[in-house]
């Protein structure tokens, strides 16, 4: 277990190119070259950014340039050296740096740190075809999380990434055995502490991260507002916050899917400077058993996650809107993000210095 890790996440549009190749490709090449412990590229279904450009798979001509999120985790020393390179490479997008605990190797003796006693986000990285007792690993993991009364989990299919420093990229023809998948789950600290050693017994080479979060809403019930943070820390470094809204693709609010209504309203009202929606393939929340698509169906049964990263004042405004739209369904969490850089060509907003703030 390494307590001192950094998670670097880049959000951008997939069609962007640098030096004649796709930016996503260049970024993953960089991660492979530096042998990053865990990284995964996820393709989203809707987003907008600082330029207010809408990306969506609802219309064929808009889905030609889908949003992408690439997360990478490793020891602080390695990631700190990568941050500037990633920002330098990014033509247009958002880069966030977060503190995380990376757990790998023998995790059968795991005690949850005191700081995480409130609630925590557990992210597990597994290969697409990895199996546990003949069952796909992601299904076995979701069953375990569900049994251990974790509030919710969503499984996202990566299209590219690294695991323990090795590049694994999805190909059209191929079994894609080790292409990474990301399983994000949210639960009480003590529940997460019980789950981690069990994951260690289940998986050949467990690779997971744990981050501190706050659960704001569950199944329409308001539990807590996001922490009220100052705009900067004592050294004047800007503070940022992230909201994650976990809903089902078919959960509606006033006849529209919640994630679509969220993107539309956050964009037109100007409450948020950006949002990205990722669609999972399997998962659960709100007490329902883990589920995904069936072979014959009209509507899809998969989880979606809407991610919003912004300054504390704007997060408070976005939360009001989210609170309204998730009056019946959804799990909403908030967390602090110590460094964010918004990149638009040569323009940069924010910085890479990690803000320090105890709350």
């Amino acid at each position: 277990m390494n307590d001192d890790c950094l998670k670097l996440t880049a959000y951008f549009g997939e069609r962007q190119r640098v030096d004649g190749r796709f930016f996503a490709e260049a970024l993953l090449n960089l991660y492979a070259e530096r042998e990053v412990a865990a990284s995964v590229m996820l393709r989203g279904i809707a987003s907008f950014g600082a330029r207010k450009e809408l990306r969506s798979d609802e219309w064929l001509s808009l889905s030609e340039d889908p949003p992408v999120a690439v997360a990478a985790v490793d020891a602080r020393a390695k990631m700190a050296g990568l941050v500037e390179d990633v920002i330098e490479l990014t033509p247009l997008g958002l880069v966030t740096v977060e503190r995380a605990r990376l757990v790998s190797g023998d995790v059968t003796k795991f005690a949850v740190p005191e700081q995480l006693s409130e609630a925590a986000k557990l992210t597990v990285y597994v290969g697409r075809q990895e199996r546990v007792d003949g069952v796909p690993a992601y299904i076995a993991i979701c069953d375990l999380l569900y049994r251990e009364r974790i509030s919710g989990a969503s499984v996202f299919l990566g299209v590219d990434g690294t695991a323990r420093g090795q590049r694994h990229r999805a190909r059209f023809f191929g079994r894609n055995v080790d292409v990474p998948m990301m399983i994000i789950s949210v639960g009480g600290g003590e529940h997460i502490a019980r789950v981690v050693p069990r994951l260690g017994e289940m998986l050949r080479q467990p690779l997971l991260t744990i981050e501190r979060i706050r659960v704001c809403k569950r199944d329409g019930e308001l539990l807590a507002h996001p922490d009220v943070l100052p705009m900067t820390d004592e050294q004047g470094r800007p503070l940022w916050q992230k909201l994650m809204v976990y809903t089902s693709e078919t959960a509606l609010h006033n006849g529209a899917p919640i994630h679509r209504a969220l993107v539309r309203q956050l964009r037109t009202s100007g409450a948020a400077s950006g949002a990205t929606v990722l669609r999972g393939i399997w998962g659960f929340h709100g007490g329902r058993k883990p589920h995904g698509d069936k072979l014959i169906q009209l509507s899809r049964q998969v989880p979606v996650t809407t991610i919003i990263v912004d300054r504390p004042d704007r997060i408070a405004r976005s939360f009001e809107l989210i609170d309204e739209l998730t009056s019946e369904h959804g799990l909403v969490t908030s967390e602090m993000v110590p460094a964010v850089v918004l990149i638009d060509g040569d323009d940069r907003i924010g910085g890479t210095g990690l803000a320090e703030y105890r709350y």
């Binding site: 809408l54 798979d57 609802e58 219309w59 064929l60 001509s61 693709e249 899917p257 009209l298 509507s299």
Partner: protein, 121 residues
């Protein structure tokens, strides 16, 4: 002559597809609603145009170029179907049904209008 016509089919077919993409995308950026207005606009304007072309007495080659090649690639059945299915996927069943019904009713009306305009010329 035959080669020139087929080259024309290739060029006009390509131009129709590009025009559809540009119009659909421009509408998508402006409207930003779940209902696929872009595809509807393209299909309806294409139906008017094809009705008009059918109403005019054109030579075989000209109608091949303007009708089959240009309007054929400008309008799109597959996108209409895909976007309807995507609406249904997210339980937007009323919008999915409306997308089919509205497109069919207005589409037939648009083709008739095109032919009527041709008759007035």
């Amino acid at each position: 002559m035959i080669i020139a016509v087929w080259a024309g089919v290739v060029l006009l077919g390509g131009a129709g597809a590009v025009l559809r993409f540009l119009i659909d995308r421009a509408i998508a950026h402006r409207v930003a609603r779940p209902f696929p207005f872009g595809t509807l606009t393209v299909n309806l304007s294409g139906a008017v145009l094809l009705g008009l072309l059918a109403g005019l007495t054109l030579s075989y080659h000209v109608s091949l170029l303007a009708g089959t090649a240009f309007v054929g690639s400008y309008t799109t059945f597959s996108t209409w179907m895909l976007e309807t299915q995507r609406l249904a996927e997210e339980r937007q069943l009323w919008l999915a049904a409306a997308n089919i019904v509205v497109s069919v009713i207005l589409g037939v009306a648009a083709a008739m209008a095109g032919q009527w305009i041709a008759g007035q010329l």
